[in-house]
Symmetry: C3
Subunit: 429 residues, 3 copies
Amino acid sequence: MIESIALQSVGELADGISNVWILTVSFLIFFMHAGFAMLEAGQVRAKNVANQLTKNLLTWSVGVVVFFLVGVGVSNAAAGAGFETPFMAEADAGTAEVYINWLYGAVFAMTAATIVSGAVAGRARLRAYVTYTIALAAVIYPVVIAMTWTPEIGLVQEITGTGFTDFAGGMIVHAMGGLAGLTAAWILGPRMGRYNDDGSANVIPGHSMTFAVLGTLMLAFGWYGFNVGTAGVFTSSGAFNGAVLGRVAVTTTLAMAMGAVGAGLVAWAKTGKVDTLYVANGLLAGLVGITAIPHIATWWGALAVGLLAGAQLPLVFSFVENTLKIDDVCAVFPVHGSAGILGALAAPFVHHNLQVGILDAFIAQVVGVSVIAAWTVTATAVVWYVLKMLGQARVTPEHEQEGLDLSEHGVDTYPEFGDEDGVVADGGF
Amino acid sequence: MIESIALQSVGELADGISNVWILTVSFLIFFMHAGFAMLEAGQVRAKNVANQLTKNLLTWSVGVVVFFLVGVGVSNAAAGAGFETPFMAEADAGTAEVYINWLYGAVFAMTAATIVSGAVAGRARLRAYVTYTIALAAVIYPVVIAMTWTPEIGLVQEITGTGFTDFAGGMIVHAMGGLAGLTAAWILGPRMGRYNDDGSANVIPGHSMTFAVLGTLMLAFGWYGFNVGTAGVFTSSGAFNGAVLGRVAVTTTLAMAMGAVGAGLVAWAKTGKVDTLYVANGLLAGLVGITAIPHIATWWGALAVGLLAGAQLPLVFSFVENTLKIDDVCAVFPVHGSAGILGALAAPFVHHNLQVGILDAFIAQVVGVSVIAAWTVTATAVVWYVLKMLGQARVTPEHEQEGLDLSEHGVDTYPEFGDEDGVVADGGF
Amino acid sequence: MIESIALQSVGELADGISNVWILTVSFLIFFMHAGFAMLEAGQVRAKNVANQLTKNLLTWSVGVVVFFLVGVGVSNAAAGAGFETPFMAEADAGTAEVYINWLYGAVFAMTAATIVSGAVAGRARLRAYVTYTIALAAVIYPVVIAMTWTPEIGLVQEITGTGFTDFAGGMIVHAMGGLAGLTAAWILGPRMGRYNDDGSANVIPGHSMTFAVLGTLMLAFGWYGFNVGTAGVFTSSGAFNGAVLGRVAVTTTLAMAMGAVGAGLVAWAKTGKVDTLYVANGLLAGLVGITAIPHIATWWGALAVGLLAGAQLPLVFSFVENTLKIDDVCAVFPVHGSAGILGALAAPFVHHNLQVGILDAFIAQVVGVSVIAAWTVTATAVVWYVLKMLGQARVTPEHEQEGLDLSEHGVDTYPEFGDEDGVVADGGF
């Protein structure tokens, strides 16, 4: 009798620890929305700040409800398990884990969604953006999950026979969002005045470096939840999962640091100055780079992947800006897209203990990256192309010029600063 | 021998898990002060920002000491248990839980206190505000606790025979703060220029939408601690409390999301624009709405309560502004007051498994809301009325016009922006 | 068999709880970097904001890699244990705890490092600052650890026979950083225009009180991790460590609160106004003051230490400004230095249960403070003096006048505000 009480309690205790950890990291990952909001708001013009903030608020608010009602069911159906959603499970006793795991999945899904808003800033209509968010939360992201992070055998493993390695979503969440953003920005076209008639680019600086860096550091804080939180507290056999937790904590830290260093060094080499925004975005690119592989990377692999993810940022940004001529306002492709792809492809080469052949592992990564990229780009292009054909994708030139804050939201973000006169109803400024 | 060690350890482990969870969520709830500071600072004029920030800093600093030395004792005394405070228990061995639970109670108390500062912004004297904060932390809030969240039988249950349902303080903390704010703003009178001679209202926009939205998202992050953290890790019988934790996590998320959607839709219907500040405050109203009932609401109940809490915001704000003619600067009544009342009253109708009669349950909620409202409004009105009679409630018209930052704090929040010339001692801007 | 499973699981569970707590608080402490970035950015001129933000980003990014590769090994070697680093332990099975503990140590180390950037703001060259950060992370801070927080017998205990009491780094982390900052600022000299020819000081106000207060509250949030997180979940005998966790939570809260009150009261007594920045920095000084002793202080001791730590802030700041004539831009010495020393020296006098003689305990504290101060000031002075002799310490007067953002980073933090014209490529503001 005594032993059975003890054993029962041990099981309850383990459930308690594991789920409290999942909840805590889910809160941290939710906080990344605040980080994205600040990072993106800081990188847009003062006349478009409220628009960017509204998009971030609605990405979460609309997206999470759609993901609850539809997205999870589509993901399960696409994986061949039938349309099952968390609310359909409410009646039975298993609600606890279904509900906690739903929130955990939802904060990852919404991270993918919110990345897109940074690419289409300054000219996408609010209704077009919200429409795309619904499509992403209901179908586009759920299908990616069905191909990879599914209890069923995913598409990648079906094709190659080897599982696709993406621990916390370097490809599945971040590069998916970065590719979607790039595609949407490409179809929308650049902001007015972004390119001259001869094809040369003008820089349109964001309105506040301080908010951008604040957002960067808030994101890094939440990212510890994103990566370390993907490691469970216990292994499947019930032992403490410290080897994985410790490795993820260290590789995440080192890659983040080297991302900032890598981007800063390349910027310094190119211009003789250490551009603040490259350092900040490089830190994020380092985090994106390691996110697929923090559980398997060696410490030197984390340093190398972080450095490369940071160093590629100024180069890929320039390629997107000057060669592709796509106006990716907040550099979401270099930060989330190419850095995420780089990290996923690096998996076999920095693995501390690879159990399959390096070529097999690499092929699985190439296939996984390719399948996710093809689906994301195609589905995103279709949605935005249809919106464009309907004349709903983009605000009018007049509205773009006066700013989306006024035309879409009827507000002035900073009524007392800048060129406009503040309201003086309270006796003057 | 072996079994007794195991059993002892299991008890210690359970204590460890439960208390680490309480501490973690207490930190998250403390962080809501940073959220309130930003939300409120963003919604006031640039000339009053430092005043608002100082009030937020002092709400916490003065309030928490008063609550430690006096408030807890008053609460215990009012509930009939004698004047017992945490520091009086310090000598004995039970310090641990008393102290950890004190912090947990204190962060809820200070949330109620800080809400008031948003309503009286721009004209309340600092000493009047601090005096009221002391009264709230020492007496007003502790008496509310004694009526409801007390180990003794609370007043509401004494009257109706049915317990008052308020899981995490939708009524006890938020609506209490919202009602106190509305009352204080009513007695103080509106800011200069807020109303014209014909009674029509002027809009006085806040100085930074970005800070307001930042504060909103910081609050939402902390709110997960507020709501989910109110659920213990284990049930009273020692089992994992996952059914409640999971339900609270999901209903909190859904109501928050629908609050933003509801406020945005009503604003859109009224003006054709999706007002950013309504979306942000709607998200908060959705959170307030669910806070009394996240542990019992069905998923569709959470969606409905969130939607209604958001939708009522623009309507109640307009009623307060145009009919009551109260200058509730940061909309604390529509966000915290009416939304909190709505959620508390909705309890019987969205309950997943109501064990008492729906009418009995509803009467208990009506009585609880009424008693808390009557006490809060009366006590708050008395304090502010006395301050007003003493000529201490409000700054002079000259000080209000030049801004409270200068008159009360001797500082300029943004010396390099706006109309004023910056100090140029370091060689010019 | 049943019992052995139970016992094994209990050990794994305890490891799980303890390490999840360490990880969670490590994330909170990491978030303090965001707090420092905002606090310091708010206190510098608009023309130097991006420089300050870049320094904060690089302190973490460069410092943490150096601490990983070199610092830990130097600390172990200086304590007489040989040059051992976490990555050298990677091969063996013990990686988990080594890696988790490394992150935990690293976030403390980087806190000390980042404090310095606030003192040297507005004139230190980026390369000089980064060079010093490398020296701090590789040698200066590791040697302090070797003298105190080492598993070997530290230098202080060797000298006095009594251990040095510094629970979470009030002296070891904060005062060390504050002293290093003061020393660096002294050697660098003041900003242009900070002092007139007659030696009188000019105030150069920061560009945004809002960011400064935001940073303050973010720091306070992270500080709960810093202090409470230093208490393990379990005692060495496996019991729940609630008495310590509870005491630390309460004393940290009370000292923080009284720090804000103390600084506000002194400012009010001196000028008749409640200076917002003193209240905010006083709150931080209260936290610094308690950080060495939260586990042993009585509740009244915490109130007293917090009050004194806050009250000394305006006085010490004035002494540094007007007597020492050192331009400590963000007041890092009064906030982190003198407040940390005060708290460490107060240990014997507010102890709830002192086991050694009060004089012995006080001598150990005086020796510990003196040794750390002497080493930190000397090592810091040498590094900055060499940099100064090489002409690398400080930007040119022209660059200082136009601002470091432009000269060091090629960016404009707020291109649409202030005197400069914004870029209008997108059709005007």
